[in-house]
């Protein structure tokens, strides 16, 4: 357990990067949110209709930003070999990376998401749900993204490949999260969509570290 905590602290400090990691992700998020009215037209009704969905899509895309260097960094300087030989199982290393991605990147994005949604015209009552859904969904995005980064380790054109591999896997949480937000905005029950979103994130936390560990082992030998 202490090995996991040490790993987590290390990954967190790397992902946080003295504020750089989190702020860049939030900046990217703000840029997408700013481009949407330019693309869609600034009529309030039209923006209000797409606000929840856009907030969600931008969240998924912002998660992809920091994935390419997640394993490359350690692979290049030999740290990953040491981690593979160390006391903690590789699945714990993968889980620590995923958790650090979520803490350093997903939490600030979850704070930015309601702001963006409100600026795009979503009703103020939706803000807490947007924050909660971004928090829970961000966990799933971070872990699945970390697994994608492990799979693409050692490949050419890593960044785009990770996106191509991971975005189809992002489809269920996008469907459920945006579905919950749309249900809320129409006065329907948002519980089932949110529950399915949480189920996806928890399944990602439970299962993807093992897939990522298998991929890392494959890339190392």
């Amino acid at each position: 357990m202490s090995a996991f905590l040490t790993l987590y602290r290390r990954e967190l400090s790397l992902a946080w990067g003295r504020g750089g990691g989190a702020l860049m992700a939030c900046g990217f998020y703000a840029c997408i949110a700013a481009l949407v009215p330019l693309a869609v037209g600034s009529e309030p009704e039209r923006l209000r209709a797409v606000a929840p969905g856009v907030a969600w899509i931008a969240l998924a895309l912002s998660t992809l930003l920091s994935l390419e260097r997640l394993y490359e960094r350690d692979y290049e300087d030999g740290t990953l070999d040491l981690l593979a030989l160390g006391p903690a199982p590789l699945a714990a290393v993968a889980a620590a990376k995923g958790l650090a991605q979520w803490t350093a990147g997903g939490l600030p994005l979850a704070l930015a998401a309601p702001v963006a949604a409100l600026m795009l015209g979503a009703p103020a009552a939706m803000a807490p749900l947007v924050f909660a859904a971004a928090l829970v969904g961000g966990l799933g995005f971070a872990f699945v993204g970390a697994m994608g980064a492990a799979l693409a380790l050692g490949a050419r054109r890593g960044g785009v490949l990770i996106a191509l591999v991971v975005l189809p896997l992002f489809a269920p949480p996008v469907i459920f999260g945006a579905g919950a937000l749309h249900a809320f905005s129409e006065g329907l029950n948002w519980g089932p969509g949110f529950a399915l979103l949480a189920a996806y994130s928890l399944a990602a936390v439970a299962l993807t570290p093992f897939a990522a560990a298998a991929a890392v082992r494959n890339a190392l030998d």
Partner: protein
Amino acid sequence: MVFGLANPQRFLSVTRHAPAILGGLAAILFAVGVWLSFTAPEDYQQGDTVRIMFVHVPAAWLSLMVYAVLGGASFFALVFRHVLADVAARAAAPLGAAFTALALVTGSLWGRPMWGTWWEWDARLTSVLVLFLFYLGYMALRASIDDEAKAGRAASVLALVGLINLPIVKFSVDWWNTLHQPTSVLRLDGPTMTADLLAPLLVMAGAYTTLFLALWITAIHGEIRARRAAALQLKAAGRA
């Protein structure tokens, strides 16, 4: 049986004539299926357009079946290190992607006269499109890693993770309100189609399946021979 065929030489000798036999069978089934498709009665609502179903539905069935084959082969490759399973998975992926693209295109052609639109973002169409993207992601990952063995293992992990999408595609028409036709053939209560429309559908499904098997085995043969050729080249270069 699966492990009996793990030896490439044995596989080649056992399936030497399989592509020709299966190809001939597929040709016969296609001939019968097309004839049955054109002589089947008109649908009372859709008229003659219903005949696209005999091309569209088997393609969609194959797209799911080939992904299941891909997942199974990846499982054998990853867990049992079955020598030919990796080759089989690699061979199956482009075929599956082609069947999925065929299902999407023929479905679009059918949707235009029936629903008045070329495309609709309902649950079934979106999940099949996502399935197509899964195939593309698999092929991209395979192609991007230079070491053949490493690429195979990473792609196997990805294929297994993607298996979650299969039940979502199959049951999407039941779980969500969609424009697409709900399940009418593989149901617990039995098919809701009459025999005169079900027969051409099943014959065409058989034709598509034998065609897939013929092409798949041909591709596996090709891959085995390509690897042998590469090994011989290396050996010759070593001697020179």
